[in-house]
């Protein structure tokens, strides 16, 4: 994963709340077994509308998405994060994110910056007046800023300390955890014998009602 420190780019105003992961990438695109190439699925249904914001010429090359509250609710599909990244987004700005989406973003290296609703409103207004306005996200200082015709927008954004640290370092989570293998082994040695195990496999006796208590 590439370290993320600061990012400056043009932004797209997605004036919608509750943008669930089925909108970000419909399930039909999840059949692939690859890790890249999901840009065609991004907002696939909405992009069929020529007036959709991403289809406007001034949205070309944008790398920051500014959306309403509850962005990324719904399914756990990390494909939603991959589709945004594959399309060219480095960051999503919203007043509130779905929990799993925010986690996935942190793992995959997409910045999910949680801001006050008034910042989103100000950015939406700015981006609709000045469609190529440039927005900067500074992960080190946790600030978001944009210079507009009616003055500068500047505020802080929220991201948890650990995700921020990992993004700044560009660190792979699995390697970090495996450094604590001894702790995991000690924990395993103390687990009670009655904890469930999938192996050896046991299956239902078909003569006994298998599903009803």
């Amino acid at each position: 994963m590439q370290p993320f420190t600061t990012h400056t780019g043009t932004a797209v105003a997605l004036r919608r709340s509750n943008v669930d992961t089925d909108q970000i990438i419909p399930a039909a695109y999840l059949k692939r077994v690859t890790r890249t190439g999901f840009e065609d699925g991004l907002f696939a249904a909405w992009r069929a509308d020529p007036d959709f914001v991403l289809n406007r010429p001034e949205s070309a090359g944008a790398s920051i998405l500014v959306a309403g509250p509850d962005f990324g609710t719904g399914s756990s599909r990390e494909h939603a994060v991959w589709a945004l990244q594959d399309y060219g987004f480095a960051a999503v700005v919203s007043p509130r994110f779905g929990d799993i989406f925010r986690n996935n973003a942190g793992k995959a290296g997409l910045l999910a910056a949680e801001v006050d609703a008034k910042v989103v409103a100000a950015l939406w207004d700015l981006l609709e007046r000045q469609r190529r306005a440039v927005v900067t996200l500074d992960l080190h200082d946790r600030t978001i800023s944009a210079d507009g015709d009616e003055g500068r927008i500047e505020d802080s954004f929220d991201i948890d300390d650990y995700t921020r640290w990992r993004l700044l370092q560009g660190l792979d989570d699995v390697a970090a955890t495996l450094a604590h293998s001894d702790d995991i082994s000690s924990y395993e040695e103390a687990r009670p014998s009655w904890k469930p195990q999938t192996l050896p496999a046991r299956v239902s006796d078909p003569a006994v009602d298998p599903v009803a208590p």
Partner: protein, 468 residues
């Protein structure tokens, strides 16, 4: 110190705690399916890693598979490749798999409980947001993304920030004919789709205690639909009775030790929650959605709301968009909405009790001419059980289609989809735009309402059937 149920389960699983770091939690059970795992297994291979605990891992095929002709090769080559990839990965890494055609295949959240693998006080994860279902047993269960799937495969742990706790206390009992699904839809309409964000929720109170395990699973399943990280219900005698004798339930002395532990997990009397919500079960009536998120719901007896009724500007804009997508006019009685397709199934309402409920309503009736009805069991065991009870005959003689087990029409990534503009009453969990197929329109309903709607051809409840 006094603790809530969720805090007890959390503390029991902390492998490591460091300053400024999330807790490293041990994972007792990892459920795997074909859609969110291929890139995770690839990651293991690239790094030369193995699955740390195949004996705590189980896989099945559910999301992208067909529910007819399941004995034939999967027709869609992309779906077939994904299923074949799961099979190859399970073989290579030694993971137990219940494939299509196996008696223990089914929706991953139906299979885990049915095998007795989902147990109180455990941590359960899966690359699927409806993993919250397993919280019905007093397990801390939550959905994860593919990077986290890889992390659990490699380490059997997950770094997790400690969430806040919330109690949802449901006082009194549900009236006759009102189900767990109605209750949770009414709750989400009250608290909103973001209401649980950042919380692990415990459902408690008289109405919850009175529910069967399967109804409890319906409630916990929908936790994610109002943003909660997980939803739990304290284990009690109903939980213990459900688990007794299941294939992977503890045996002999282990059983006694396990039960003693399970029954000690309930929230301490003086434990504090960060937030509390109270709901009166006695006021809940059959509840249906009109919009495109699960919080956009009303009682079946109400009308399609007007966007002007919403004070919040975002809610108003969302309502306008939803009504346009759903092609609904404010003021229309919900019962006047005609339905093309009724879908019974999913990890929300695809268990045997749901099918019994649907059969009891359908018995002696016919599905309306304008409507098609799909009944999809949540697992192959559920299908076999329903057939042993003769429920399949009730469905087919009413004119419904009786299918094989899988996620089916819940999510539009297998052959069971809505056509553009088609309107469905669905016992599933999400009414998002295009969720059940591009351009499809979804009303979330309970099994009772689904069955009555199929007969009437418009949204309705069993009470409406007397006139038919």
């Amino acid at each position: 110190m006094s603790q809530t149920l969720a805090e007890k389960v959390w503390s029991d699983h902390v492998v490591r705690r460091g300053d400024g770091e999330p807790d490293l939690l041990y994972i007792d059970l990892h459920l795997v399916h074909e859609v969110t795992s291929p890139q995770a297994f690839d990651g293991l291979r690239l790094a030369g890693r193995t699955v740390r605990r195949p004996d705590l891992t189980i896989a099945t095929e559910d999301h992208n598979i067909p529910t007819i002709d399941v004995d034939k090769p999967i027709a869609d080559p992309v779906s077939r490749t994904q299923v074949d990839t799961l099979r190859a990965n399970c073989k290579e890494f030694g993971v137990r798999l219940h494939p299509l055609g196996d008696a223990d295949q089914g929706i991953v959240h139906v299979v885990g409980p049915q095998l007795g693998l989902t147990q109180p006080g455990t941590t359960v994860v899966c690359g699927d947001s409806h993993t919250s279902t397993h919280g019905a047993f007093g397990a801390l269960a939550f959905g994860i993304g593919t990077s986290e799937v890889e992390h659990v495969l490699a380490t059997q742990t997950l770094p997790q920030a400690r969430p806040r706790t919330m109690a949802v206390t449901v006082v009194n009992t549900l009236p006759d004919g009102v189900s767990a699904k109605d209750l949770v839809l009414a709750l989400i309409a009250q608290v909103g789709t973001g209401g649980g964000q950042g919380y692990v929720v415990e459902y408690r109170g008289e109405a919850i205690r009175a529910l069967s395990m399967e109804a409890r699973m319906t409630i916990c399943n929908m936790s994610i639909e109002w943003g909660a990280k997980a939803g739990l219900i304290a284990p009690d005698e109903i939980t213990v009775d459900y688990l007794r004798g299941r294939p992977h339930a503890p045996q002999d002395d282990d059983w006694d030790a396990a039960v003693a532990h399970w029954l000690s997990l309930a929230t301490d009397d003086d434990a504090q929650f960060d937030r509390e919500v109270v709901l009166d079960a006695a006021t809940v009536t059959p509840f249906v959605t009109w919009g495109t998120n699960p919080g956009q719901g009303v009682p079946l007896s109400a009308q399609v709301p007007s966007p002007e009724a919403f004070d919040d500007a975002d809610d108003r804009a969302a309502a306008e968009r939803a009504l346009a997508y759903m092609a609904l006019t404010p003021g229309t009685p919900m019962r006047a909405i005609d339905v093309d397709t009724v879908f019974v199934g999913s990890c929300t309402n695809g268990r045997i009790e749901d099918l019994r409920t649907v059969a009891a309503v359908l018995d002696g009736h016919r599905v309306a001419d304008r409507t098609r009805m799909l009944v999809v069991p949540g697992s192959t065991r559920v299908r076999l059980q329903a057939e042993a009870e003769g429920l399949d005959a009730v469905f087919t003689s009413a004119g419904a289609e009786w299918r094989g087990a899988g996620c089916s029409m819940c999510l539009g990534m297998n052959p069971d989809t809505l056509q553009p503009g088609e309107r469905a009453a669905s016992t599933s969990n999400r009414n998002f735009e295009g969720r059940q197929g591009k351009g499809g329109r979804t009303h979330l309903v309970s099994p009772q309402v689904a069955a009555a709607t199929a007969v009437l051809g418009h949204l309705g409840s069993p009470a409406d059937l007397v006139e038919v």
